[in-house]
């Protein structure tokens, strides 16, 4: 199995607070990897370290390395705009731009220099198709994205990420604000998308992790306690802390 993302002795500090403590983790290409753990354990912090979203936070200090395709993410040579094109991100609350459905998806490609209308049309259709959204919205692409349902908005956000041809998609609790049907649609979508992309998802939903993740990493108090195939983590975890968390004995 090929590594897509590698973390090596990664430490992150928010000022004095030691939020990530020596994380070593290999995330595999074209797999869905779930990050689980109680609130405040560092899983979202780790996720945002992958595409350097933590750069926007004051007083953040990072030591150690993260590699994507063997290139160090925190190298001074790295252009974070290019990095965030390669590593897309979807957040808990759907956040479509206050513009049309079409313009939401076309925004990223335009920023990266695509001007040809036909090319943009193709990109928009393909991205919306990939998210099983095109048929639902094809007759109103010029209408505001804010008029879509929550589930549709979240799929639009995924389409927006796909439009710039990423390799990796990071999702931070992408379905926690959605109804069960929308949740299942997003999960089905992620299972299809992993054929082409590497997916890392933070989730509080154990059943979701067990449904869609190939691998699961359990974080606790800034440390990664256990990592392995999801079926092993959820059936026979090696560490008692993992067992106690997934069985709801704490959390």
């Amino acid at each position: 199995m090929e590594n897509k993302i590698e973390a090596r002795d990664l430490h992150l500090y928010y000022g004095e607070k030691h939020a990530l403590k020596g994380i070593n983790l290999d995330i595999y290409k074209n797999k869905v990897t779930a990050l689980i753990g109680p609130s405040g354990c560092g899983k979202s912090t780790f996720l945002k370290s992958i595409n350097r979203m933590n750069d926007y936070i004051d007083n953040v200090k990072i030591t150690g390395q993260i590699y994507i395709d063997e290139e160090e993410v925190y190298s001074e040579r790295v252009d974070t705009t290019i990095l965030r094109k390669k590593v897309g991100m979807v957040f808990q609350q759907p956040n479509p731009f206050p513009m049309s459905i079409y313009d939401n998806v076309a925004y990223g490609p335009r920023v990266h220099g695509v001007k040809d209308k036909k090319q943009l049309d193709t990109i928009v259709k393909k991205s919306l198709d990939s998210c099983v959204l095109y048929e639902e919205v094809k007759d109103r692409l010029t209408s505001s994205a804010l008029g879509l349902s929550g589930g549709q908005q979240q799929r639009l956000c995924i389409a927006r990420a796909l439009a710039v041809s990423p390799d990796i998609i990071l999702l931070d609790e992408p379905t926690s604000a959605l109804d069960p049907i929308s949740t299942l649609k997003i999960e089905e979508l992620l299972l299809q998308l992993k054929e082409e992309y590497t997916i890392v998802i933070v989730t509080h939903n154990m059943q979701q992790a067990s449904r869609i993740a190939d691998y699961t990493a359990f974080f606790l108090s800034g440390e990664m306690i256990e990592y392995g195939q999801t079926k092993d983590i959820f059936s026979l975890p090696k560490d008692k802390r993992t067992e106690d968390y997934i069985t709801g004995r704490f959390g």
Binding site: M206, Q207, S210, K231, F234, S235, L236, P237, E243, I246, T247, G248, R249, F250, G251
Partner: protein, 219 residues
């Protein structure tokens, strides 16, 4: 404590399983008493009590399904509940076999029958020990004990061979012993099957602890 209701329900499940085990072991013990003392009334009582064992099986199954539905158990909780579903089936079958033994006892007559059953009480003793040991191993995740119970099945098989040979000699010595001899072979076979069910329970004890049965990973 988080999930305290779930903990209470798991505890109740274990208690119900232990109650069912107690009834099953009692049935085995009473079969031996009924056999030795030719107590037809006790034998009839064993048959009637089997209804209660069957009802307990259904009640425990319903409890397990409810837990699966409401609590979505995983890891050790899932193994506990899923193996409870398996174990109640074996306990219910042990209850059935005891009732079947008791039904045969109600049809036996005459003093000669006791002379034929020299080693059948030994089989009953081993069966009871195996069932109790299997459930103890299941409750305490004691795989050493589970293995000891499985080894006792060899002793059970040896007794069965001895009993068959003894009964065969009795039949050869007097053709009028044929019917009663066949009945005792059936009784011996039921005790031997009880030992097999105890062995099954030990396999589920292994799965509950390790996720594997006979080192074959199931979960």
């Amino acid at each position: 404590m988080v999930r305290s209701r779930f903990e209470i329900e798991l505890k109740a499940l274990r208690t119900e399983l232990n109650k069912m085990t107690y009834l099953v072991i009692e049935a085995i013990e009473e079969c031996v008493v009924a056999l030795k003392t030719q107590n037809i009334e006790l034998a009839k009582q064993i048959v009637e009590n089997d209804i209660k064992i069957n009802q307990m099986e259904r009640a425990i199954e319903a409890r397990c399904y409810s837990l699966i539905l409401k609590q979505q158990p995983i890891a050790s909780d899932l193994r506990m509940i899923s193996t409870a579903l398996k174990v109640v089936t074996d306990l219910e079958r042990i209850g059935d076999q005891s009732a079947d033994i008791a039904k045969i006892i109600t049809t036996l007559q005459g003093d000669s029958m006791y002379r034929m059953i020299e080693h059948i009480p030994d089989m009953a003793r081993v069966a009871k020990k195996m069932v109790k040991g299997a459930i103890d191993a299941f409750n305490t995740n004691d795989l050493v004990l589970a293995n000891q119970v499985v080894m006792m099945d060899d002793e059970m098989d040896e007794y069965f061979i001895i009993v068959k040979e003894e009964i065969s000699e009795h039949i050869k010595s007097d053709i009028h012993n044929t019917d009663i001899g066949i009945n005792f072979i059936i009784i011996a076979k039921y005790f031997e099957r009880i030992g097999d069910h105890a062995t099954n329970i030990c396999e589920w004890a292994e799965f509950k602890t390790t996720g594997s049965v006979n080192e074959h990973r199931l979960l």
